[in-house]
């Protein structure tokens, strides 16, 4: 892993260096600056040294936890910039990923089970069409229809300045709390499920629904009483359109993956055996076929969740959602080397983490896999 990370850092560093010019070129085009001042600017950013020397310094700093200062946000530390952008991207893209996977998985299961029907053709064709849509044009069309013509949603951005004027908390504080709330709720729901599994024979599974709903209501109440519920609501209102766009564009991937995986699984003997035993269709589909078809889907989900941090340059640009994707693009374009390297390091580390998580999950999902 360390070797892979080292290669990622090295490759990215020299890729950015290979671009013509550097950050100080911005000042080269100001005719009022004397040449010695331009040299001073280069020296202040450390750009006066040869590339290999910059690389050694960068490597040393990285492995001592110092990601440096962003040129474009001078003298703000790179970590500070990333810490500001990551929560915004996470809230949007984790939500969109979860929604699109849920819809994709649900539809994939259904169309695999009822092959050849009108529903399968309709879902497959419409899903494939949306999957291949040109994202910027589709996103703009969504804004034009639902925000501009119908006026149901805001035209981009993640908040309404008129709502946030004078607010004594920052948007990141609200984003952070939204993420915490979601994490708390998921943990609570998982704990409930684990408890039910443990005492499953004595407690009916439907009992989980009111408990989980109760948990949700507690969180809702906490938000309503916090005084910042209105601000969170404003963010949620701004999320609807980008989440819907991302879901429509990407759910088909999961749907088709689930369908193919399910089609392989339902031909297996154990599925036939389950049917022969006279188990209800829903039980055969969900517990015997779908569970065994989940391996590639879970892999895909984990990668998608991890790469959600990377955001999407297109979606973030079109919806004016300033997350990591947009930040990375702007940093690359302005040759803000420390910020590019910081963002890539972060993404590289998370992608390696994703591989570890997937390997561990395989063991849990597939009893045939055991690591020595």
């Amino acid at each position: 892993m360390v070797l892979t990370l080292f290669l990622i850092i090295t490759f990215t560093f020299f890729l950015v260096q290979a671009q013509p010019g550097d950050y100080a070129s911005f000042y080269v085009l100001n005719p009022d600056l004397p040449p010695e001042v331009k040299d001073e600017i280069r020296a202040a950013f450390g750009l006066d040294k040869p590339a290999w020397q910059q690389y050694v310094i960068h490597l040393k700093n990285t492995f001592t936890g110092n990601l440096g200062v962003s040129f474009g946000n001078f003298p703000r530390p790179v970590l500070d910039v990333l810490a500001e952008r990551v929560p915004r991207t996470l809230v949007l893209f984790l939500t969109a990923t979860a929604v699109s996977f849920y819809i994709g998985f649900f539809l994939g299961k259904a169309i695999a089970w009822r092959r050849g029907g009108l529903f399968e053709y309709a879902a497959t064709i419409s899903g494939a069409m949306l999957f291949t849509a040109f994202t910027p044009a589709f996103a703009l069309m969504m804004i034009w229809v639902f925000a501009f013509r119908l006026g149901w949603f805001p035209v981009g951005k993640f908040l309404d300045p008129l709502v946030w004027r004078g607010a004594d908390v920052s948007a990141n504080y609200v984003f952070g709390n939204m993420l915490l709330s979601a994490a708390a709720f998921i943990t609570f729901a998982l704990l409930v499920m684990l408890c039910l599994k443990r005492f499953g024979r004595r407690v009916p599974s439907v009992a989980a629904v009111p408990i989980v709903l109760g948990g949700a209501l507690v969180i809702m109440a906490a938000w309503a009483l916090s005084g910042i519920g209105g601000l969170a609501l404003d963010i949620v209102k701004h999320m609807v359109l980008p989440v819907a766009t991302l879901t429509l564009i990407s759910f088909a991937g999961t749907m088709l993956l689930t369908r193919n995986s399910m089609l392989e699984t339902i031909r297996e003997d154990y599925v036939m055996a389950a049917r022969a035993k006279g188990l209800p269709d829903k039980q055969v589909r969900d517990r015997h076929a779908a569970r065994n078809a989940m391996l590639p889907i879970v892999t895909s989900l984990v990668y998608s969740l991890i790469f959600a941090i990377d955001g999407s340059v297109i979606i973030e640009s079109v919806f004016s959602w300033p997350g990591t994707g947009l930040t990375l693009l702007q940093a690359v374009r302005s040759e803000d080397l420390p910020l590019v390297m910081g963002a890539m390091l972060f993404i590289g580390m998370l992608s390696l983490l994703a591989h570890v998580i997937v390997d561990v999950l395989y063991v849990y999902l597939d009893p045939r896999i055991r690591y020595q």
Binding site: F158, W164, A189
Partner: protein, 652 residues
């Protein structure tokens, strides 16, 4: 696992779906506690009458911008964070001794009571200085109630010089000229220069310096001084996040939600509120501020008035909404979420068409403060030949390209000072090639080249009707008998600028027709900058410049002293006669004499042609005229270039 996964997804969905429902009533409560007086605005149904929003009720001026701020620290904005977006938001809050007048760009006092004393040579403690004195207005206030004084100016300029501030600071406080500033009482200022400064360094440089509040910044500067060397000192100064910094402009910076918006609130103590400004056809200027100042210059006020307005601010607040792209900002403008949008390039043709015919919007067009040009590398033959450059200029049919190919989106120009900069524009320069037919152009180019000693194996010949080249020129040789080498013109690709790439393609075609072996190399902007400015490895290039009102850039671009690597004269143009003119402009301290000097330089350049100036594009802007009103809309560089314009915006 199946159940767990399902519940996890349900959980997320539930949180999202219940939040709006649960906090529906809480919205107003929530905001009311955190933002007194603020209520959430809901988007009205398309066919329902819209309830007056908070923006309408409170006279909030809403501006769209396409990139986030990077700092709120004005020292840093003029230093390493010198983005135009920082300038849009932070501009207008700091006073300056002098400023440009509206529209005409006359040099007029701002917090100075009158014009400065003439520069005088003075010896102090064995050292010779050039000095000038300025009287400041009494009664101009910072928003914290204290006076704007000479101490504030001296503190700002001396700090910039002492800490050797980088970025744009050296172009304001030039260390080669500025020595220090002293005060003689709270309202009298004496400035010491190391050498005699021309207009560019003093009147159009230091005199425009934003003045910082000494009482607010002195502790920060004192802390920075303890930080070590100047680089560390600058870092401390630039990293300070101002809170409660006083403003002397129409608005006070209030809030910045990163990536979303910035807000400035009305300054209730703005000293120039109600100032009546008038510009007269005679050239006279007057600014009357009740109880503060009654200033007139450039003649006696009277006769026809060309512009008259009263300073505000009339808005309770200005909000700068940040959008991810210009398209998103345009949609917001159409929908009514913003009143105006700022973009240094103005609206592109496609976006103009999107906004055309929209009710409640008005589109305006102004001359821009930039030029696009074709530059030559004088270190290589035949670009060092004036006849060759004049032949190239003759062959380029700017009017044809602009009118026919580019459908009128650009304006052909012939001098480095754009027409919109009326005070410095010389209309009487040689217009090489203007109005010629294709045949006349080819004939004239051949004539010029032949006269200079160029020869062809096969001379170019135009068809009898003059519409096409019947015989392409071949085997062009230079006066020394060597063949003209294959050359390249570097130009931005169509993705970056379709206008310049179109020009490059047609220039390649026209020059090739007469036998000049030129190929257009359409490439990335950074590649061109690196090859031209960093390496000086090129034949010709097409780029553009954004220009300041005072044309000292003529010296920066064409004086031979700037032809070193990374200099602003990468073509290596070296003409002692021009150098003399350029030195004269920099040293000139009299406005009228400087104008004559600039006129002469323009005429010289239009004939000697280190650049073939190609075209300019108008700045097109759209604003919500059903809601807001500007006192004037005709201004060089568009409304966005008017510093402090939010102070003038009124509501219908």
């Amino acid at each position: 696992m199946r159940s767990s996964g399902r519940f996890a997804f349900c959980g997320l969905l539930l949180v999202l779906s219940l939040l709006p429902a649960c906090t529906g009533e809480g919205t107003e409560d929530g905001v009311a506690t955190s933002a007194p007086g603020a209520t959430a605005t809901s988007q009205p149904e398309a066919d329902e009458p819209a309830a007056p929003s908070e923006a309408e009720a409170e006279k909030v001026y809403r501006i769209g911008i396409s990139a986030d701020l990077t700092t709120t620290n004005h020292w840093a904005y003029l230093g390493p964070d010198g983005t135009i977006w920082n300038g849009y938001v932070l501009g207008g809050s700091k006073p300056a001794l002098y400023a440009y007048s509206a529209q005409r760009y006359d040099w007029v006092p701002s917090v100075a009571a009158d014009f400065p004393t003439p520069l005088a040579e003075e010896e102090v403690a064995g050292e010779t200085f050039w000095t000038t004195e300025v009287e400041l207005l009494e009664g101009v206030k910072w928003s914290d109630g204290s006076d704007v004084t000479a101490e504030d100016f001296a503190f700002t300029a001396n700090t910039a010089a002492e800490m050797q501030l980088t970025g744009n600071w050296p172009s304001i406080v030039d260390p080669e000229f500025f020595d220090h500033a002293e005060t003689d009482g709270p309202y009298r200022l004496k400035i010491f220069f190391k050498q005699k400064p021309g207009l560019a360094r003093w009147q159009f440089g230091l005199a425009f310096m934003p003045i910082f509040s000494r009482s607010y910044w002195e502790p920060v500067v004192a802390e920075a001084r303890q930080a070590g060397d100047t680089t560390e000192q600058q870092k401390v100064l630039f990293s300070h996040v101002p809170e409660g910094e006083p403003s002397a402009g129409g608005f006070i910076f209030d809030q910045w939600e990163r990536g979303a918006f910035a807000e400035k609130d009305e300054n209730p103590d703005y000293s120039f509120r109600g100032t009546e400004v008038a510009l007269y056809a005679s050239g006279a200027y007057s600014a009357i501020t009740a109880g503060l100042n009654d200033f007139t210059a450039y003649g006696e006020p009277g006769g026809e008035t060309v512009l008259e307005y009263v300073e505000g601010p009339f808005a309770a607040s200005t909000i700068y909404s940040i959008y991810g792209s210009q398209d998103a900002a345009v949609l917001a403008l159409k929908k009514g979420d913003i009143d105006f949008m700022l973009n240094p390039l103005g609206l592109s043709k496609g976006l103009q068409e999107q906004l055309a015919g929209e009710d409640g919007l008005t589109t305006i067009e102004n001359a821009s403060d930039g030029v696009r040009y074709l530059g030559f590398n004088f270190r290589r033959a035949p670009m060092d030949s004036r006849a060759f450059r004049q032949a190239v200029a003759t062959l380029i049919d700017k009017e044809f390209l602009v009118d026919t190919v580019l459908q009128g989106v650009a304006i052909p120009i012939y001098t480095m000072v754009p027409e919109g900069n009326g005070a410095w524009y010389n209309a009487d320069v040689p217009l090489i090639g203007k109005g010629l037919t294709r045949q006349e152009r080819v004939d004239r180019a051949v004539e010029l080249l032949k006269a200079a000693g160029f020869t062809w194996e096969t001379e170019p010949r135009v068809s009898e009707d003059g519409n096409f080249i019947e015989q392409q020129g071949e085997g062009l040789r230079m006066p020394n008998g060597k063949p003209v080498p294959a050359m390249q013109v570097l130009a931005p690709s169509a993705g970056y600028d379709p206008l310049r790439s179109t020009f490059a393609i047609w220039i390649e075609r026209w020059l090739s027709e007469v036998g000049i072996p030129l190929r257009a190399n359409l490439t990335g902007f950074n590649v061109i900058v690196e090859k031209v400015f960093d390496q000086q490895d090129f034949d010709m290039w097409i780029l553009g410049w954004g220009l300041s009102p005072f044309p000292d850039y003529l010296e920066s671009f064409f004086h031979s002293r700037h032809s070193e690597l990374e200099g602003y004269n990468p073509g290596g143009y070296n003409n002692p006669d021009f150098d003399r003119l350029a030195d004269g402009l920099l040293a000139e301290t009299d406005l009228e004499a400087a104008r004559q000097q600039a006129f002469e330089m323009q005429a010289f350049l239009a004939e000697d042609l280190p650049y073939v100036v190609l075209f300019d594009t108008p700045i097109v802007e759209t604003y919500r005229s059903e809601r807001i009103d500007f006192p004037y809309t005709e201004t060089w560089g568009g409304l966005q270039s008017v510093s402090g314009m939010p102070t003038l915006v009124d509501f219908r």
